[in-house]
Symmetry: C2
Subunit: 354 residues, 2 copies
């Protein structure tokens, strides 16, 4: 490897305690940006590009709507929510994707996402108990892939190979990601579901997510963009259970705080959009731990005042999960490190000097 | 929390790459010690106490042998290996533990370890397919708990409550741990299986493991100790498949390198003993990731010259695991960071000055 390896000294943000003692610690970098690309808050390395993984699914869904593909193929709001989802493979997810594919004249074998057991444990166990094996429909990305197949049909491109970087579907999606993030994209690696994943600095990722709430100047070049962003926001907000699933953090947070959009990505990534304030947030746990990403996200949303008292109470277990051992006894807790996040006062917080 | 939170700047030791780019990074602290407590190699914070979790199972088994309980109750070498195990809950594990308990006149309901699904996936699926639920026998610690029940009977103590800190079984085991590590034990927290887990600095943990290979001076106070250590080493070495299970790192390493003893612990801990050189090794991944602990262990064992060429080849996939996506395509790799570990030359490596 000729590339020098950065050693980002991101702050310790999340502690895993056993009893009162710290057992493990997680470092987190985050950026909060406005739609103009201005940084509102930040800690840690937000300039080195990181893989956003599934956190950009709402951005990857833009082309589906903006191209006219969604309208032409009658994509419903629920289907659009699933295009933005990392779902649990529950029946409420797979049935919608299956019907969507059938309407396109396609089937599960056209999905190029590969197969894994449903992440929803009870569904996975039901499959095993029934002697069935999972299908590509159960892949957490099957809705996104159904959306990409829809776009391929709309573009008149072959459906086979839609997941490859040189396919018109991926080319269009990459162009959207570059525009929304305001960056020239670095070369992609391959995501868990076979599509390209372009690394982005957290600052740029936060900007891209902020623009989901207000594409602003970008709408001049892409007249349908503001409407597409609004449709994506509405789909996620109205169907939080489809964006992840039963008991999953994304779904629980959006159900409790309908004015917040959140989306997780593998290896400790989270993004959030605050449409009321036209802000975007992006975080990455340096070691890739999902358990820390949720706790860090909750800390940031709380610190930003994005959650009302009811949501804070409803989501307390996500903010500081209790750890129980195999006998059900409470043995520890995951929680924010004292003093994290450390927000810089916004300019308006400084009283003007006389 | 009044205790100040240390922020150990352990070096980045393990990288998770997607394509060529680093996606996530793990920090690791480690100590290599001799049986006299001398430090041979170290990096990172080896003075702050960490929870060794299941990595101390071979040390926790000392009392079972040394007290005479193992001899009195006819504990076999296979059973002793299981007392040192975090096993996968495969039939080869649960059948031995079940027969052991039956010989004691006890049963699975006497185990206080709680229940979890077998970590061996195929066994877990077989249970579900058969409509069965896991029992305490499937708990990865059931062999250790069977050993503790054996010790309780031998000591004439109640079997109920043997997992509690004030029970004679745990008192005796804690005393052994203090003696072997040469420390006054800090207060325990509760382990995943309900027993006390005492935090130890990595330097002390490495020393304790080194003494498994040569209890030395300790044997004067505890005449049976050297023999007990030898029996434990033999049990683990001769039955590596019982110490973890099919496809598991501990078993694979000990099968490929019979002169090395290794044992994992939850939250990114590993210990190794090198009986030929009377050395002990202890490492902790700061964020608790098991995936990094194995890669770090392999790097240290290789660096110490503890693996011959055949073992290095047989264990290549543990040293730098390939990451495949759900479609089976290679998308990345977990590997040591360049330059890690950084060993200080041993005194004998320095040519004597004339």
């Amino acid at each position: 490897m000729s590339e020098p390896e950065p050693d980002p000294q991101d702050p310790v943000a999340v502690l895993v305690r056993r009893g009162e003692r710290v057992e493990s610690r997680h470092r987190v970098a985050y950026a909060v940006a406005d739609a103009g690309g201005g940084l509102i808050q930040q800690q840690g390395d937000i300039r080195t590009a990181v893989f956003p993984r599934s956190a950009v699914k709402p951005l990857q869904a833009l082309a589906l709507v903006e191209s006219g593909a969604a309208e032409r193929f009658g994509v419903s709001e629920r289907e659009l929510a699933l295009a933005c989802a990392s779902h649990g493979g529950e029946a409420m997810h797979t049935e919608i994707v299956a019907a969507w594919l059938a309407r396109l004249g396609l089937g599960p074998s056209d999905l190029e996402c590969g197969v894994h057991a449903p992440s929803h444990a009870a569904t996975a166990e039901s499959l095993i108990a029934a002697g069935e094996t999972p299908s590509p429909l159960h892949n957490n990305c099957s809705g996104k892939h159904a959306g990409m197949l829809t776009l391929a049909l709309h573009l008149g491109a072959p459906t086979a190979g839609y997941s490859q970087a040189d396919h018109p579907v991926q080319q269009r999606i990459s162009a959207d990601l570059a525009a929304m993030s305001g960056t020239r994209l670095a070369p992609a690696a391959i995501d868990g579901c076979g599509i390209p994943t372009h690394p982005l600095p957290l600052a740029s990722l936060a900007t891209a997510v902020a623009r989901l709430t207000d594409p602003g100047a970008l709408a001049a070049d892409a007249p349908g963009r503001a409407a597409a962003c609004a449709r994506i926001r509405a789909a996620m907000t109205r169907h939080p259970e489809l964006v992840a699933g039963s008991g999953r953090a994304c779904s629980l947070i959006m159900a409790a705080a309908p004015k917040v959009l959140v989306k997780t990505g593998a290896e400790g990534v989270y993004v959030a959009a605050l449409p009321d304030r036209k802000l975007g947030l992006a975080l990455k746990v340096g070691d890739g731990a999902s358990r820390a990403a949720v706790v860090a996200l909750m800390g940031l949303l709380t610190g930003l005042g994005a959650l009302d008292r009811g949501a804070v109470a409803a989501l307390a277990e996500l903010a500081a999960p209790l750890l129980r051992n195999h006998a059900g006894r409470a043995v520890g807790r995951i929680e924010r490190a004292p003093g994290w996040p450390c927000f810089v006062p916004a300019p308006s917080d400084h009283p003007q000097q006389a």
